[in-house]
Symmetry: C2
Subunit: 277 residues, 2 copies
């Protein structure tokens, strides 16, 4: 592991205890949420975050005590999740079982578009972020002349017909361990632009084109930037080979635009052992 990554991990770990504080018990939660109208996962002053909604619901569940949480992935404003994994440390005298946690939190999260799919007592040392070994996202494009109706806020609308096979040929150049500087947001805080993309699959199903991406971790905006460039290949503005050149350039200005957030959904977080098994 490069030393910069090690130091970053140490710094991050120092800010979140690997084990819950005295008197607290850690729970693993699987969340579904609709990011529309939120500022994303992380608490911010300028709007409603999923984290704030969850922590407020948890505080209600335990009688007003402040509760802190951490996530496997900090999604951006407008990005969705069908299976985000989060940890939350609750007073261990709460005497609640996993089902009560799941249903109680989901109840207190109403009427917001956030709910708990699963809850489980976390194994010793388990951390939602640092124990995770993979993240998978799906980016969905609605590819037709007419604007989205049934899928509004959940797809990127692209009018120009897309060739999904050409997009897959381009995507194949990006799979593997690379310097992804060309697909990294200027605001990205990661110490290294190196990432290993384990999967980048493009498929067409009727009027939908989906891009599924899986990696241990992603750079800020990486998938939306990949989607923005893949769309240029699909519409014939770029050849598939151009993605190889853009990647090699290590220059964000060489790549395509950032695709909008509403097409993106976190669909899976992987751990060495399923925390909900």
């Amino acid at each position: 592991m490069p030393s910069c990554v090690v130091s970053r991990l140490r710094k991050a770990r120092a800010s979140v205890a690997d084990n819950p504080a005295e008197g607290l018990k850690r729970w693993a939660l699987k969340l579904e949420y609709d990011g529309t109208g939120t500022v994303g996962w992380q608490r911010q002053h300028n709007g409603l975050s999923i984290q704030e909604l969850l922590e407020k619901a948890a505080a209600k569940l335990v009688g007003g005590q402040a509760v802190s949480s951490a996530t496997a992935g900090r999604t951006d404003a407008g990005v969705h999740a069908s299976a985000m994994v989060v940890q939350i440390d609750l007073p261990d005298n709460a005497m609640r079982d996993a089902r009560q946690i799941r249903d109680g939190l989901s109840y207190h999260l109403k009427p917001h578009r956030v709910a708990i799919l699963e809850a489980a007592a976390a194994a010793p040392g388990w951390h939602a972020r640092f124990s995770a070994i993979s993240r998978a996202y799906r980016y969905t494009i609605l590819n037709r002349p007419t604007r989205p109706v049934l899928d509004i806020d959940h797809v990127w609308h692209v009018r120009r017909p897309l060739d999904a096979e050409a997009m897959q040929r381009g995507a194949n150049y990006l799979v593997g361990r690379h310097d992804f500087s060309s697909f990294r947001a200027a605001a990205c805080q990661a110490n290294s632009p190196l990432r290993t993309l384990d999967k980048l699959e493009v498929r067409r199903a009727g009027q939908y084109v989906t891009i599924e991406a899986k990696a241990r971790s992603f750079l800020h905006h990486q998938i939306r930037n990949l989607a923005g460039s893949l769309q240029l290949v699909g519409s014939g503005q770029w050849t598939p080979e151009r993605l190889r050149d853009v990647l090699a350039a290590c220059d964000r200005r060489q790549a395509g635009p950032t695709a909008p957030p509403e097409g993106l959904c976190l669909i899976e977080v992987g751990y060495p052992e399923d925390p909900f098994a």
Copy 2:
């Protein structure tokens, strides 16, 4: 054809001309709409209908002239469509091509959740309702403990685990030509309770259970009533065989509850020749 059906067809045909009036040209439209918050397809005094939204958009398109439309299926309040077929008669001096009609109507339908997927000049004598030879609907159940989030307003939430195979065994008793009085709304205006159900397929895909139904035509609430009874079979409260007995009883009180509208979506209307080919 039973004489009652013939007389009903004559009556209905008399109220809508088979051909557009002098100076008008008929267009076939394929619509996608989200029925949430509407009173359904048909114009009513107590709320917003898809028909009113479409006719108002069309009037804007042709400079204020009143426009009338007819549909292949009058969906209820809260029911959706991904491919409803509708006809609309526009002044034939409008000099518009199909693409202008599609995009112009979709534009004037904003910000409502209704848009035109396809438009085509109708063949002589073609009628959206009377020329149709089949309607297909999908009913979607979200089958999990947690309330819907990403699918809110588009699924029926059923907490109790459902056995889709048992539901299919029950559904098989209902396929074919039967008196469907047990699955017919009290307000149904059809002259005959006889219908031929060509397809009733139940499938599970992860946390979703879908019921696809296809017939030349359906009775009022027929699919929602079928879904309500199939759910009782899936949850083990009824045996699959009970559906055979309920059907034979020809008595609405013998069947299960009416499933809620939000799970229902019209997905296809069939014609001898595809009006959009």
